[in-house]
């Protein structure tokens, strides 16, 4: 008998989704109650994961693996999803997207991500990826009467299907050239210089780079960010990115461990390209969601720089980076929920002008979040970058470090632009007074974390001790 305990969080999540679905089907206007049930389910799953924290074990012929690494990311995405549910509640209702499917689809994608994170086998990994992607296609076009949202959905569907196809092709090549679908066995048999397997690695990397929207596979990001409703964008910006990076680390750490010379060059290129394009292309943006899209591209570049080192400290720094990135983006998107003018949500950056006179607290939150995104000390974002550059320079990749540091200066420019519009320009538009505790709490928590992080910068790192062996 396999040790079924390991998979209990997944089973619980699945049963919970079914329950929520039933409630949604049998009760009318059940959005709020499904939402509440979903939050409870996610909290319950967090409890289940924490109860069995750490400890590496494999089941189902070593295809499912539970370790501290997957546990950490699972808790991370659950917590961020809960915050998204809380803070986007008002927005969803205002946009009339309050159908009970919304939380259920999100939970399905989370279920898929759970399997991606725990997969120790190409087949299970691909199944998890597809479950996640299917849910995300629906989410991207959930505002189906809106033409931009539909366009975003289609765009995301076509490109993502293509990348999944490439990834699947890579997986099959990998199986063909190594004779196994198990990560550990692939890792062992890839010791020799196996040209076919390196082809496979490239295909898989392309598929994964698409998921984290790294250049040159970033085309979908700005459009989907802009087209999808803000709450969905919030989800897209945070959760799949974290999982994508986690999976990249998994692949590089396990099956591709021995061909580091081959993939390192590719990741370095992707990382540099993302940093440069993300910083330069964001300068001209007028829509704040597009700006955040390009900013996330450049952030992925920094996160990948940590992966590119191929060392434990590099992977750890990437995980720290993505954690702080999530916290910054949660806060930034929560601020977008407050950009409401005459009952309509605005996305134009220029509408923020002179906000500091009307809404000092909101402006101050923007200030902290955007300086943090720019990586200016003493805010949290600086430490995220600092740990990345620590490990990059440790691995003696000086060019990568210098380019990364110089692009922070370029990207500082567009973050400053938003600050400038808020603080230096004259007031034009008056925002509605949104009284919503959960949005404000999200912003407050995020800002507090970012501005107090300097007191103990090793706090996330200490959680990650012993993540890689």
């Amino acid at each position: 008998m396999e040790n079924i305990n390991l998979i209990i969080p997944e089973i619980a999540l699945f049963l919970g989704i079914c329950l929520a679905l039933m409630v949604g089907v049998f009760f009318k206007n059940s959005f709020s109650i499904v939402m509440k049930i979903s939050i409870l389910i996610l909290l319950g799953v967090i409890y289940l994961i924490l109860a069995d924290w750490g400890g590496e074990q494999k089941i189902f012929l070593d295809s499912f693996k539970n370790d501290k690494f997957s546990d950490y990311f699972k808790v991370l995405i659950l917590i961020s999803s809960i915050f998204i549910f809380f803070s986007s509640d008002q927005f969803i209702k205002d946009k009339k997207l309050n159908k009970f499917e919304y939380p259920i689809i999100i939970m399905f994608s989370i279920l898929g991500m759970f399997f991606m994170l725990s997969a120790n086998d190409l087949i299970l990994f691909y199944l998890g990826l597809e479950l996640q992607s299917l849910a995300l296609y629906v989410l991207a076009s959930i505002d189906r009467d809106n033409i931009i949202s539909s366009e975003a959905g289609i765009k995301y569907f076509v490109l993502s299907a293509l990348s999944s196809g490439l990834l699947l092709y890579g997986c099959s090549l990998l199986y063909g050239f190594t004779g196994s679908t198990n990560f550990d066995e692939i890792g062992v048999s890839l010791i020799t210089q196996n040209t076919g397997a390196i082809f496979a690695m490239v295909f898989i990397l392309v598929g994964l780079a698409f998921k984290v929207s790294a250049v040159p596979f970033h085309m979908w990001t700005p459009d989907v960010y802009q087209g999808a409703p803000t709450s969905i964008t919030n989800f897209f910006a945070v959760v799949p990115k974290a999982v994508g990076l986690a999976v990249i680390i998994r692949f590089m750490d396990l099956p591709f461990k021995n061909i580091i010379e081959e993939w390192q060059t590719i990741i370095i290129f992707i990382s540099i390209a993302s940093m440069i394009l993300g910083s330069v292309a964001a300068i001209g943006q007028k829509n704040i969601k597009r700006l955040l899209a390009y900013s996330s591209i450049s952030h992925m570049g920094y996160a990948l720089a940590g992966v590119a080192t191929g060392t434990v400290s590099g992977y750890t720094s990437t995980i720290i980076y993505i954690t702080i990135y999530i916290i910054m983006n949660m806060g930034a998107f929560a601020c977008l929920y407050l950009m409401k003018i005459d009952g309509k949500y605005s996305e134009k950056i220029e509408d923020l002008s002179g906000l500091s006179k009307e809404r000092p607290m909101l402006s101050f939150s923007f200030l902290i979040l955007f300086f943090s995104l720019a990586g200016i000390p003493p805010l949290g974002g600086f430490f995220a970058k600092f740990f990345i550059f620590m490990s990059v320079i440790e691995s003696e990749m000086y060019i990568l470090a210098i380019i990364g540091l110089l692009t922070t200066v370029i990207s500082a420019f567009y973050y400053l632009k938003v600050i400038k519009i808020i603080y230096f320009d004259d007031n034009k538009i008056k925002f509605d007074d949104v009284r919503n505790l959960s949005i404000k709490a999200t912003i407050l928590l995020s800002c507090l974390f970012l501005s107090l992080y300097f007191i103990s910068p090793s706090i996330i790192g200490s959680l990650l001790d012993g993540l890689f062996i």
């Binding site: 000092p360 600092f386 550059f389 922070t408 200066v409 500082a412 400053l416 400038k420 300097f454």
Partner: protein
């Protein structure tokens, strides 16, 4: 010493800022004013106490505080020596003056201005206290945020351009320093300054690392040709912003050169001395000539700052006692005198809304008290004996003559040019006939303005006649730097 006095000095202003932030009520400025004055003066008294208990005869760092910060990597380490104590006192001394001046002149959003200044004080003192490179970098960079806001929110017509230029120039210079600091961590195994000082950085790395640090400090000093952000920032910043910028932010770079470039990279410092000398001489002569042609008083003083900082860098890289003590003295004197000059311009600007030289003239007839003080500072800036300005420049030139006649002679022309533009400024603004009817209706300075200007004036004159307290405080530390420098060079020669 168990009481963490350095941390209290660093974080007290932050606490004050927090109080103002929490007591933030609309149209309710008085509590903010009292809190900010109280905090900054309490901090000043604390630093006086620090200076009083500072041991002048102890070589090395005192009041060391150490805490685990990033576990296993970096310690939060503070400590001061004879060089940093003076800058801490200068910072704590200038801040209350800034606060009083902005209470007089800032009309909109005073609360936020006071918060920004107090937070800035925290970061500035932090820079001078930190003994760990990462902590130093943290404070060094963090100061950009409040200063960016001060220029951008309360600045003049071209404030946005200037704020951007200030922020991006400084950031660009500093990121290379961050790369260098991280590299030092991996090359030496620590970023603790006292450890690096003992362990020594291998010679082959020193040149590039020196350049990385130089890129940051040169922008901040500012040295020619990266000085162009300074005139813009000064002109657009509000009076208190200009004062802090000139009096303290620029000194961070001089302090950085002295502490880090000289202390950690002695061989590279020696190697790059011709470069620094050339840039300093160009700064002194070129910016003095530019200053001659300015129409805007603030811009004139800004260019004179660049020239004065040229003396500072020149003095630091002479590697002898006169030069280094001279540049220390020059930094402190410039901190007081240029601050006072900006305040004087602020006084005129508050009354007329103009900083153009040609719109004034004959001010002495209508504002006699102001004119007296203004002339004293003008004379101080041009280095008249009896003011602090003289001692600084004199010692720097003395140090320069010791090692290179040509450099010293060229630098001396700067003194003459400085006299030219400063006296011409005084002549056009203070003397002559009033060009403008507005000037004839001006009121003389009030008590508050008079108080802060007279305090600055007294400090400048007292230390001008009796520089011993300052020189005594820094003496041992400066000797230590020179000694270390010479030892390293000797070791290097023997190895060759």
């Amino acid at each position: 010493m168990n009481f963490p006095i350095l941390s209290s000095i660093i974080f007290l202003p932050l606490l004050g800022a927090l109080f103002i932030f929490l007591s933030n009520k609309k149209n309710e400025n008085s509590s903010a004013i009292y809190i900010s004055i109280f905090t900054s003066i309490a901090n000043l008294l604390l630093t006086f106490f620090l200076w009083y208990s500072f041991d002048n005869n102890f070589a090395g760092f005192q009041f060391i505080e150490e805490k685990n910060w990033i576990s296993g990597l970096i310690k939060f380490k503070l400590g001061i020596d004879g060089i940093s104590i003076l800058f801490i006192v200068l910072t704590a001394f200038i801040t209350p003056i800034c606060i009083i001046s902005c209470i007089i002149s800032v009309k909109k959003r005073l609360n936020e201005f006071l918060i920004a200044i107090l937070i800035l004080e925290t970061f500035m003192i932090g820079v001078f206290c930190s003994l760990d490179l990462i902590i130093f970098y943290l404070f060094f960079e963090a100061g950009l945020i409040p200063m960016f806001l001060i220029i951008g929110i309360w600045g003049g017509p071209r404030k946005i351009y200037s704020a951007y230029k200030f922020f991006l120039f400084t950031l660009l210079g500093s990121v290379l320093m961050l790369a260098a600091i991280i590299f030092i961590y991996w090359a030496v195994g620590t970023t603790d300054y006292t450890e690096i000082y003992k362990l020594k950085i291998p010679k082959e790395y020193q040149y590039l690392l020196w350049l990385a640090f130089f890129s940051s400090f040169a922008v901040k000093t500012p040295m020619w040709p990266v000085h162009t952000w300074l005139p813009d920032a000064h002109v657009e910043a509000p009076t208190a912003g200009s004062v802090i910028l000139a009096a303290i932010l620029l000194k961070m770079a001089g302090y950085g050169f002295l502490r880090f470039s000289l202390g950690m990279f002695p061989i590279a410092s020696e190697f790059f001395t011709p470069l620094v000398f050339t840039l300093s001489i160009i700064a002194i002569i070129y910016t003095s000539l530019v200053a001659l042609m300015q129409d805007d008083m603030k811009k004139l003083i800004a260019y004179s700052s660049v020239a004065h900082m040229g003396f500072v860098t020149l003095g630091i890289f002479t590697f002898n006692k006169q030069g280094i003590e001279g540049s220390m003295f020059q930094m402190i004197s410039h901190g007081i005198i240029s601050a006072a000059l900006f305040l004087c311009v602020g006084v005129l600007y508050d009354r007329t809304g103009s900083r153009m030289i040609k719109s004034f003239g004959g001010v002495v007839n209508y504002l006699p008290n102001f004119s007296l003080i203004f002339i004293i500072f003008v004379l101080g800036a041009l280095g008249l004996p009896g003011t602090t300005g003289f001692i600084g420049e004199f010692l720097v030139l003395l140090g320069a003559f010791k090692i290179n006649y040509l450099v010293a002679i060229l630098a001396s022309t700067g003194v003459v040019l400085c006299a030219a533009y400063m006296l011409w400024l005084a002549k056009r603004v203070v003397f002559g006939d009033a060009n403008n009817t507005i000037v004839t209706k001006l009121k003389d300075i009030n008590y508050l303005e008079a108080t802060i200007l007279i305090i600055l004036c007294l400090v400048s004159i007292v230390f001008g006649f009796y520089p011993e307290p300052l020189l005594n405080t820094m003496d041992i530390s400066v000797n230590g730097i020179i000694q270390n420098h010479q030892n390293e060079l000797t070791v290097n020669l023997i190895n060759k």
